[in-house]
């Protein structure tokens, strides 16, 4: 028995090392950065001064991009959920022999880099591009109306880039649903729409939870879409942090913002998972 207990610890070692190396150490370093003395500079060096006021400074200055980040991420996640659910449902139940091909197509964008894909959206949404011109022709967009440098472009970019992270977990949970359960719902007087609401949707909840988390979390921290498709008015927290770290060199505030965003996301996720109650589902 004793030997058995020790074996367990030995087997945990690789995972513990992994976590230590790639989570604990970087996270500790980030936390330390957020508590630097802001007087420090590259030349004079930095001291960990446990200056919690960094957080107050950071939020006072940058609450606006923080709120915007969460708001854009929420809107993008909601749009992804609707589009992704329809797509995943169609692939899982209606695609027949095209299923594999469609799944490959969902993943296909990953074959090129995130940056290149977002840059190409910059071309697609350009002021003299066909999308803007078509919208102007249809009078959906004014004479000098544009898409680039608007929230629409940034959110569209987020939706585009994170849609696969929504589709794949949704597909995985929809595909697992036993078709006989849907037949049983029909047999028990549920019309197709009632059957969907009472059986399919609740059974796909693990996919909905996983998909929304996998979309919302990276979208809230994203800066590429706002940088390439937006203007300073659509600045998200990621852009601010990037700027503070690489241009201004204000490590303390940048660290404080990073830690804040992380804390907010963790808190939101915990509330979300608790309300969604996925642990009851197999």
């Amino acid at each position: 028995m004793r030997r058995g207990r020790l074996t367990g610890y030995w087997l945990m070692l690789p995972a513990a090392l992994w976590l230590g190396l790639f989570f604990v150490i970087p996270f500790y370093s980030l936390l330390a950065t957020s508590l630097y003395d802001p007087e420090g500079s590259v030349l004079t060096g930095y001291d960990v001064s446990y200056r919690f006021a960094n957080f107050v400074d950071a939020l006072e200055q940058f609450w606006e991009p923080l709120v915007r980040s969460l708001w854009y991420a929420a809107v993008a996640t909601a749009i992804c959920l609707v589009l992704g659910y329809v797509l995943a449902y169609a692939i899982a139940f209606k695609a027949g022999r095209w299923r594999t091909l469609l799944l490959v197509l969902v993943i296909a964008p990953f074959f090129t880099s995130f940056l290149v894909r977002t840059l190409s959206w910059k071309l697609i949404l350009a002021d003299d591009g066909f999308v803007v011109e078509t919208l102007q022709f249809l009078h959906l967009l004014g004479e000098d109306g544009r898409l680039l440098a608007t929230p629409v472009a940034v959110i569209a970019g987020l939706v585009y880039n994170f849609l696969p992270f929504m589709v794949l977990p949704l597909y995985a949970s929809l595909e697992k649903i036993d078709g006989r359960l849907i037949e049983a719902a029909g047999d028990l007087y549920a019309s197709p729409s009632r059957g969907f609401l009472k059986v399919t949707l609740p059974l796909s909840k693990p996919g909905v939870v996983a998909g929304t988390l996998l979309t919302f979390i990276p979208a809230a921290g994203d800066y590429i879409n706002a940088a390439l498709l937006g203007s300073p008015n659509q600045r998200m927290l990621g852009n601010v942090i990037q700027n503070l770290f690489t241009t201004t060199g204000d490590y303390a505030v940048a660290g404080a913002l990073s830690v804040t965003l992380m804390a907010i996301i963790v808190a939101m996720v915990m509330v979300y998972i608790r309300t969604a109650g996925t642990e009851e589902l197999v």
Binding site: E183, A185, D187, L188, A190, V199
Partner: protein, 389 residues
């Protein structure tokens, strides 16, 4: 619309038990891309009966059931419930419910809500009381707040039954409902379902490949093979007087012995069977001239050591030799090789009247003519033979 509404109110739970209507299938056919599952099936199932569709896998029995449930669209033919045609009616508009083979319980709902599902969809009042009564009927009152995976197979089976039954359907369909249970539990559930059917008085249509199950439970059995009904009747009728070799072999076991009809006069048909003249009552002879298979159930075959008397007047043959003896407790099963080389099965109750005979013993064989039956030689002698597992 108003018609649909009328029908919806008709099947409300207030309808008294036994007020269901006859189920009628006419020329019902289902063709799939590569084969025909059901071929022009005609069937009438009177209200309130326990009806079994019995057959090997792939015989079309489940497809027939699914067409009645509305889960499969017939290629042609009609389904009537009383005077209403329901052939193409949507499943959720039919007063028909199904107990699925694998139960198909909703894993995200507890037992109470699983059973309440149909009532809630129809916006029936007083759901909780009805669910409690139904759970009491299937003896699961204490499990109401558990989820399906927390129950045993037998309990899940009873939830599936309760979930369908609570809607008081005019026809309850059971698709191999006991297939997943072990033998002992299956036996007790057979009696349980039979008891519930008698109690509620609804029409039950039960699909199974287990002939013993069909005989235990059903009032009427339709034996299906290759998409058609081979024979329909009470369990005793089918067993005692099968009309085809398939039924003779699939329902229990039969000795089928080649013979030639020598005369058919009055109520007796005489057959020359490898030199022995045997007679068969005319109503049990399903061919009246030419060649035929003489059929006799193994437990109707009596044997005795050569020369000793057998107390069965009638068809008597000598020259048999016991080639195999299996003692199975309540009975002993003998294989007897006859002079023409065929091995006959003879099952004998272990009453203790005589010691078990040894392999190699020369024996005489006899049976009473009223137990034999005669089938056309054109039918395959091995049709419906069930591989012993």
């Amino acid at each position: 619309m108003s018609l649909a509404a009328d029908r919806a109110s008709e099947r409300s739970s207030e309808r008294p038990a036994g007020a269901g209507r006859d189920l009628r299938l006419a020329a019902l056919t289902k063709e799939f891309a590569t084969f025909t599952a059901v071929r022009s099936l005609d069937l009438e199932i009177p209200a309130g009966t326990f009806f079994a569709l019995l057959g090997p896998s792939g015989c079309g029995k489940t497809t027939t059931l699914r067409m009645v449930a509305g889960l499969e669209r017939p290629t042609s033919g009609t389904i009537h419930l009383g005077d209403d045609e329901i052939t193409y009616e949507k499943p959720y508009r039919r007063p028909v419910n199904t107990v699925f083979q694998s139960y198909a319980l909703f894993p995200h709902l507890d037992i109470h809500e699983n059973v309440a599902f149909g009532l809630r969809r129809r916006k029936v009042k007083d759901v909780d009381r009805q669910v409690q009564e139904m759970l009491a009927l299937v003896e699961l009152e204490g499990q109401a707040r558990k989820r399906p995976p927390q129950l045993s197979g037998g309990q899940q089976q009873r939830v599936a039954l309760a979930r369908a039954l609570i809607n008081r359907p005019e026809v309850l369909l059971l698709d191999e409902p006991l297939g997943a249970l072990d033998l002992k539990l299956r036996r007790s559930m057979q009696l349980e379902i039979k008891r519930i059917q008698t109690e509620v008085g609804l029409t039950f249509v039960h699909v199974t490949h287990d002939q013993e199950e069909a005989m235990t439970m059903a009032d009427t059995i339709a034996v299906m093979n290759g998409g058609v009904i081979e024979q329909l009747g009470s369990p005793a009728e089918l067993y005692e007087n099968p009309r085809t070799t398939f039924v003779a072999n699939f329902l229990g076991q039969s000795n089928l012995i080649a013979g030639t009809i020598s005369s058919a006069e009055g109520d007796l048909v005489r057959v020359d069977m490898h030199g022995t003249q045997v007679s068969i009552p005319a109503d049990r002879a399903h061919v009246h001239s030419g060649a035929g298979w003489v059929g006799i159930r193994p437990e109707k075959v009596l044997i005795a050591p050569a020369g000793e008397p057998i107390d069965a007047p009638g068809n008597h043959m000598s020259g048999g030799v016991i080639t195999d003896v299996s003692f199975v407790g309540v009975s002993t099963q003998y294989l007897v090789r006859m002079p023409w080389g065929q091995e006959l099965m003879a099952f004998e109750q272990n009453t203790g009247r005589r010691a078990v005979l040894d392999s190699g013993t020369p024996v005489d064989v006899s049976w009473r003519p009223e137990f034999a039956f005669l089938l056309p030689a054109t039918q395959d002698v091995n049709a419906g033979v069930v591989e012993e597992s």
